[in-house]
Symmetry: C2
Subunit: 255 residues, 2 copies
């Protein structure tokens, strides 16, 4: 993790430099660029072309250049981007120059997997607390941390300056845990429980639902299989359940 070395805003008391506001899709791609840049740095590269970085991150290079231009980063013609500088810029924007403390609630199988995931530490996070409501789990040690009762959250949050809460409980327990996290001042939640959380304005929730990822893939599988089975005769009417119909595009059928 690189040092936070931006110059600050001299002469304005209390003025902490704010990261620029960015399109959500750009924010979602910055971590990919960062991962690719760290790999390049580890391999000894000091500069990288936009094409090289785009390939390593799995996006197209026009999109990458546009994203980085939001950070004021345009690279140098014929040279490309300075790898170290771009790492610093992205880590600053993502707020990774401080190591954020994460509280993980729910230490079942998924919670264990998350608690044991090495990738967090190297990417700006520190699992600072493991919590569960099940008395049989309290006291268990995972990766050097002892599982504490979720009712200890207020004390844990104060001790560890918890910045992000991760919910890995079953769905029925998730809303109560979210309420407890919000009550102790946590304003960013990563939710693995398959349910929608209600949170006050100003609290960000990101959701990872593994079955939903599979269902999205299923759509593409279904479509590929259907198109393969269709004769290549151009557009066709697609009967949907209930007798409704939707017209396929020529482009999709023609493949």
């Amino acid at each position: 993790m690189s040092q936070h070395r931006h110059p600050g805003a001299p002469g304005r008391t209390g003025a902490v430099p704010a990261p620029p506001d960015l399109p959500e899709a750009t924010v979602a791609r910055l971590p990919e660029y960062l991962r690719a840049l760290h790999q390049l740095a580890d391999a000894g590269h000091e500069t990288v072309s936009s094409e090289g970085l785009a390939n390593a991150a799995g996006v197209n290079s026009a999109k990458l250049r546009k994203d980085l231009s939001h950070l004021g980063s345009y690279g140098t013609r014929g040279v490309g981007y300075d790898v170290g500088l771009l790492i610093d810029q992205i880590e600053f924007v993502l707020g990774l120059t401080q190591r954020r403390a994460v509280a993980l609630v729910g230490v079942g199988n998924l919670g264990h997997a998350l608690a044991g995931y090495d990738g967090f530490a190297s990417r700006g996070f520190r699992i600072a607390a493991l919590l569960d409501a099940d008395p049989s789990r309290i006291g268990e040690e995972i990766n050097g941390l002892v599982v504490r009762h979720v009712d200890e959250l207020p004390r844990v949050a104060a001790e560890e300056s918890i910045s992000i809460g991760v919910i890995a409980t079953p769905a029925p327990a998730a809303q109560a845990v979210a309420d407890q996290l919000v009550a102790v001042g946590v304003t960013s939640i990563l939710n693995f429980a398959p349910c929608v959380l209600s949170v006050p304005e100003g609290v960000d929730v990101r959701k990872v639902d593994l079955a939903i990822e599979l269902q999205i893939l299923s759509f593409h599988e279904h479509r590929k299989a259907s198109l393969t089975a269709l004769p290549a005769t151009g557009g066709t009417l697609t009967p949907l359940p209930g007798g409704l119909a939707a017209t396929d595009t020529q482009e999709a059928i023609g493949t």
Copy 2:
């Protein structure tokens, strides 16, 4: 899981009805609607208003109506949507009317969590095979399935008609596993390894990177903290590492 009851396309040999082509963002929201609809059905509701369904799924109702109009589903004024019919329509479009067989490669902590996740079965998927390259894991039984060596993938894929491959290996092993999946005809991959996979055209990859989700939350935390610390004096120049600057929007600073 409801039965696939669309009428087919009589008179055209080999013509399997194709699901409509849909915006990717709509595809990503359909599983959310489906989950909410199943909860409504379980609670005995036969119809639901667009507002009710939108709330349950955590989206705004205008977006929901637009999404569902892509399926040819407009609801009935004063009544709303027929819950059962809409479930059938979404399940048909997502290809969930057949239970898709999933091969899971990599049974470390995360693989164990995925193998033990009850949600897959109720949502259209069947974990049909567990595979690993580590000899010490071969033969282990998880949720009634015995872990087999990844080299058995060709036989497993043929026996089980594997539709989707899930990669839960460490990053360095992931590309080779993806190549093996593609070689046996799998065209949809869900990748949990923190790396970009190269796959041929026609293969869909979705990626879940847990650290990236945290980094996206970190951006919002960082931004919220900075804005709170800033005096409310309107737009300001934000110094970035390397001496570059980006202008904050008035709107963001004004909060």
